[in-house]
Symmetry: C2
Subunit: 592 residues, 2 copies
């Protein structure tokens, strides 16, 4: 089917469903960042494969809304005879609906939108109509089956707390709030709460499903029965009842008259709509597992340290290989990323990449979400900047690390301006890493700390400074972030966040330096009255000494870098072979 045929078939379906139009988001029923093939309705309908977007189909018009990251890609992938491309921030879909769909009935699949998302589209001019079945599914021939990887117990040694304890704590929160139950629609919450992991998505070990947790600590887990082996069922215990993923309706209807918490940001609207229709009282509130999940317990913290220490060996082997072994003038971006993945595959407890590696040489490094494809892949040339952002999923922790290096051969003859900018990015990265701050301060207010060295030179980067990272879970985990766009959630001990300032000169090069930081209590000092927090750096990999301008560093910055490099050598070299250890010694030697 051509894009035009798909659109025509869909409009035919809409007429049958009694609506004039349809919202098609880039989302599946779990509303997560990653979507399994069965949920890629937007890509099937439009041809656009970016990770964020919303299509709106009207009788005589169809528009796709996406953000600046994807405008070029969307323009290439969409059939302009069928689709109009819009910038989701500058030309928001709500305004477009009011202008183009006044008086119309626009359908939506209540499984694919949160009430918060729908609220942003609502207006007096347009009627939004929930549909019982998704019209795309009716015309999508050969739609992939939903993922069905088994859900397996996450060992207590790595999880650190029994699922029963976690449920009891969340249930106590519900009782305090006078609520009888909470709907859990975020698959990360299920993984954390029940101490299970799965394989339904490419880079995140999730078992997709839903749950209902009651204020007595009992729960229903809505997950396909074939995913749950007898071992997993035994692990879940008697207080957890498993039911098919598609059958939560009866459980919700049974809550008539009860107060049920629903997180309006992460829960499909279907749940609140069904609860209200059943006569339950829907209370908007945060997913109660979100904050405890973000604050890693001692076992998870120990796991993160161990996973990073092992990951560091793969990184050292890779950086050595890139600098000294990779065939000059032959190695491409994709080959480099594959080489790093091969080193990681040799690391114990490795379970896969935590996201597809960004391996960008020269001008490709300036594309913040670059992914090398056979069409874009190119040789990493001599004497240019090369950026690699990658991470691993280990049974005991999730890693995410970026290094930017100047390619050989020989001592680095990088241009002075590039070295100055690398040093400013590094200064911001170090300023955040060595910061102490009072308990209660939120991440958005620390974003600035990583930018001031760049700002003084009139430079900046158009992304947040850092995101939360899960524990053998998503590499992008809320609610805390070093970003002015994020909600101001106070940082708390046990949170893990990335520290990744950058600088990008489009068409020329990109610089990004990323470590993961663990939030922990700071030692008390003289006359201190508040509790302070600080960061422990988890990632262990050398910065490119040839790109650092030592004269720009303050004594404190220099001391931090020297001490970090000494730690990298001391902790990583013993696990490397002699050649890599020698290389690492040079790479972590004191700055000139």
């Amino acid at each position: 089917m051509t894009p035009a045929e798909r659109l025509a078939a869909l409009r035919n379906q809409l007429a049958k469903a009694g609506v004039d139009g349809l919202l098609v988001p880039r989302a599946d029923e779990n509303l997560g960042e990653y979507v399994p093939p069965a949920g890629e309705r937007l890509a099937w309908l439009t041809g656009f494969t970016g990770s964020a977007g919303l299509a709106i189909v009207l009788p005589a018009a169809a528009a796709l809304f996406t953000d600046g990251r994807y405008s070029t890609q969307a323009a290439q992938q969409l059939d302009p005879a069928c689709w109009t491309l819009r910038h989701i921030i500058e030309q928001p879909p709500g305004a477009w609906l009011r202008e183009n769909a006044a008086g119309l009935r626009i359908g939506y699949d209540p499984w694919l939108h949160s009430e918060a998302m729908l609220g942003r589209l609502k207006s007096a001019e347009v009627t939004l109509v929930p549909l019982a079945a998704n019209p795309v599914d009716a015309i999508w021939a050969n739609r992939p089956a939903p993922p069905a990887a088994p859900a397996v117990p996450h060992p207590l040694a790595h999880a650190g707390r029994a699922a029963e304890d976690k449920r009891a704590e969340a249930a106590a929160l519900l009782r305090e709030a006078g609520e009888d139950a909470v709907v859990l629609a975020d698959a990360h919450s299920l993984a954390w709460l029940f101490n299970i992991r799965g394989g339904d998505l490419e880079n995140t070990p999730l078992a997709l499903g839903f749950a209902l947790l009651r204020s007595d600590g009992s729960a229903e887990l809505f997950m396909e029965p074939q995913k749950l082996s007898p071992e997993t069922r035994a692990h879940l215990g008697n207080a957890v009842t498993a039911r098919p993923r598609t059958e939560p309706a009866a459980a919700l209807t049974a809550l008539a008259g009860k107060a049920v918490r629903v997180d309006p940001e992460v829960t499909p609207a279907w749940f609140a709509e069904t609860l209200r229709a059943a006569g339950a009282k829907v209370i908007s509130g945060d997913d109660p597992t979100r904050l405890p999940r973000a604050c890693k317990n001692p076992a998870e913290q120990a796991g993160a340290r161990a996973a990073h220490a092992r990951d560091a060996v793969a990184l050292a082997r890779f950086l050595h290989w890139l600098s000294a072994v990779a065939p000059q003038g032959e190695t491409t971006e994709m080959m480099a990323a594959e080489r790093l993945l091969a080193f990681r595959r040799e690391v114990p407890l490795f379970r896969g990449e935590s996201f597809p590696a960004i391996s960008g040489a020269g001008e490709h490094g300036a594309i913040i979400h670059y992914r090398a494809t056979p069409a874009s892949d190119r040789i990493i040339r001599a004497w240019e900047a090369y950026l690699i952002d990658s991470g691993g999923q280990y049974l005991d922790g999730t890693t995410d690390v970026t290094r930017t290096v100047w390619t050989g051969p020989g001592p680095a003859p990088a241009p002075d301006l590039l070295r100055e900018r690398y040093t400013r990015v590094l200064q911001g990265h170090v300023a955040l890493a060595m910061l102490r701050f009072p308990q209660g301060v939120a991440g958005p207010y620390l974003d600035t700390v990583a930018r001031t060295a760049l700002w003084q030179a009139g430079l900046d980067y158009d992304h947040g400074t850092g995101h939360g990272v899960g524990s053998f879970l998503s590499v992008h985990e809320g609610p805390a972030a070093f970003s002015r766009a994020a909600k101001p959630i106070a940082l708390a001990p046990g949170m893990i966040l990335s520290d990744e300032p950058g600088y990008y000169l489009p068409g020329h090069y990109g610089i990004r330096i990323e470590n993961l930081l663990l939030v922990k209590p700071a030692a008390r000092q003289v006359d201190q009255v508040k509790d302070f927090l600080e960061f422990e750096t988890l990632t262990l990999a050398p910065y490119d000494r040839g790109l650092i301008v030592p004269a720009m560093l303050s004594p404190a910055e220099r001391a931090w870098i020297e001490s970090y490099h000494a730690r990298v050598f001391a902790e990583v070299a013993p696990h490397c072979d002699a050649e890599v250890a020698d290389w690492l010694q040079q790479a972590t030697a004191p700055l000139d």
Copy 2:
């Protein structure tokens, strides 16, 4: 009348008015920070004279809510037999009402509460009832008359823009939004929009009143007729109709069917209630003069520079006097503040203090809002820290400056720990002053920049880093602020804000260093793609060299301080007598 008698008389009035209780805020009809004596109902009723508070009177209970700054003072001033004291954040009045006034009818004066304030008190349990007359006024014998100082034209040379232009611009904003008029209840908005100033309050040159601006640029000004001389009426022009302050009802009723903007944060609820009753459509929106008022025009910027240059002469004379002339062991905090005021009175265009000076020696410096009274006043002793925070209202600008000095005699033998902390406060102050940042960044995200030097030592200060300052208007002006508690309003050229980090060791000493900063465009640099902003420091006064530890400073910090001191000497000394100029030369000499 005793406090008990006042409360009994009030309860009697409430019964007559048909309500069970009453809200008594610390506010007058203009809802500003400062209240004229006629509006001090809370102080009259309770005896509490702090600048922030809310009383709630119930049939058998009465509570006063105020914040941590005033808990000691309120405990001393309230009669515990009549009043319960509550912390307004930790024990919020809305929750107290729900617990203690369920089912009751609680009256409020709709002139003394914004709809935003009322919204925070509303609940299903309590009925809030607007009253036609304030019950306190009925029993307050000898209530002072409302202020009646004349409103005078603010010369165009200082205002920089004709009132007619300002009205036309604000009216265009209304037309763009499809609105017919806006209620202006903030007296600062009137002063700015009509280019008038007054004398109704102690430290802010306001003429209290209200206005209605229509989308054709015409306006009604509700202000007592006797305040408006023929000259002022001529200045206002034909498009502005003056009416008594107490008579806006007819004008609002005439807006039946029209769309009228009301700022829910700064407008008494009476306006929206009256408009709705008249059949007008009330639209919540920002006071349209707020942002243009905050962004000073070139004439106002020039005025601010000139006012600060003249104010600096008074400051230099004062600091010299304190260091070399004031009788040792005899000079008190109040005497010092009076001496500074006397020097300011000799400065051209001086119109009064912009707030009551904070003059605190030793342990008094640690009280953030300290005000020396005959009861607390004490001698400024040898070898202690002394903090003075003060400002002037000049016809061309408003100043606000804080310096902390180590008292003599002789070279400063300040303790090392105090010098280290002074230096950290100064590092934060300088870091903000020399910052460059992209256009679009809001003040709350820059607050951090002034704190990190203190944070690294486990220290902090419990106030914002800085507030907006008006142009011959309030020394505390919104909407921009360097404070995590403020809304994230993007900083824009022409804004003036204070930069005042501090450190306070209760019972021992306080350190605060404050300059005013003017936001202005930064020069473009290599490869710069965004517009950047930077600060011009307006305040000109030396830091105490004896309290600075030069070894703690980075080269950039040291260079900034040396350059600032050189500028202070060059710009201020020529206007001082020889003795003060000599002292200033030493005070601004290069650091050791």
